[in-house]
Symmetry: C2
């Protein structure tokens, strides 16, 4: 069985514990034999695999009463991976979602680290500086890079910590963010854990 | 005496309690007789008024040991207006600064409401939605507009409230933000109060 997360630019594959990432244009679905379970936000790719009998859309396993209809498919997958906790997926956006004893409680979306820095840079050349990830978020800043880093990260980290549940970090910036939390587990394959759990649940029904 | 805040696109004037805003290209400094005290981030304009004997740069009144060298002049002015409290200037960026018994403690810079919304929109067409200013920031969101609004505002508002000092809001979005705070005073002319206090202090020395 292969698990497959299809974005607009990349295809992320997970098979027998091994993960590989490809440019979506370099990926040929014919190369995968056996069952492929996928989530996709790429409409063109969906069209391409429509007639493949070994490709299964994990979207069809979702209990949509648990989530809201415009919720991103990746967010739903990481929620499915966690029975009770806060899930932070730090990519181009940072999504924060709360699961309470298997029930989705809602969440929120912050900008990703890169998009936040780009947005500051757009405001003024004086704010076109990199974040300082060595900064102490508990104190007020006394220079521009610290002022932006504290301004973006301190409220967010404190809000997440305040949710008071076990914390799961995933996504490209998970490891970078983890240093700011007193306790958090980084789980890089969380989306695939969620897909796997959902498929197993679905096939039991 | 006229007080004058010169930006890159606008000139904001304050004279005998009356405030007026002009496009910087429509403003002729010859129209002002008597003393003009100004702050400016507009290098071209500074060049233009260099030889005016009745224009005084308020920058020269600042005790730079109190602040950091790259700190925006507008931020310093609103800090000078407040002896003890948290000052939130909500414009293109949202600056948050702490004054403690006359001593600057530092601060931080968040994106402004418009720049945050634009940054979300750039991430994905699905996130190109307006903030919902009617949202309850204390609960997790269950739809996209609320998820963005809570994601941007809830951490920021909670961080500011947590600073535990009297709160002063100024800038174009001050009134809009004020609804989210349990107690805050909106002071639209705070920059001019700061300029006035600093000039009076300076002329006493």
């Amino acid at each position: 069985m292969t698990l497959c997360d299809i974005g607009n630019t990349t295809v992320d594959l997970f098979s027998e514990g091994v993960r590989s990432k490809l440019d979506v244009h370099d990926f040929n679905p014919d190369t995968l034999s056996g069952a492929v379970y996928y989530v996709s936000v790429n409409l063109a790719f969906n069209e391409k695999i429509r007639d493949y009998r070994n490709w299964y859309d994990v979207r069809e396993f979702i209990d949509w009463d648990k989530y809201y209809s415009t919720m991103g498919i990746d967010r739903i997958m990481v929620c499915e991976a966690v029975f009770d906790g806060v899930i932070v997926d730090a990519g181009s956006a940072i999504t924060v979602d709360v699961m309470d004893v298997g029930v989705y409680q809602g969440g929120f979306i912050s900008l990703g680290l890169r998009s936040a820095q780009e947005a500051y840079a757009r405001l003024s050349p004086a704010l076109d500086v990199s974040f300082n990830f060595e900064v102490d978020l508990t104190i007020m800043a006394q220079n521009t890079p610290d002022a932006l880093t504290v301004g973006f990260l301190a409220p967010l980290i404190e809000k997440i910590e305040g949710l008071g549940k076990p914390l799961y970090l995933t996504g490209g910036d998970a490891r970078l963010l983890s240093r700011f939390f007193t306790e958090a587990r980084v789980e890089e394959d969380l989306i695939f854990s969620g897909m796997k759990k959902l498929i197993e649940k679905g096939s039991k029904c």
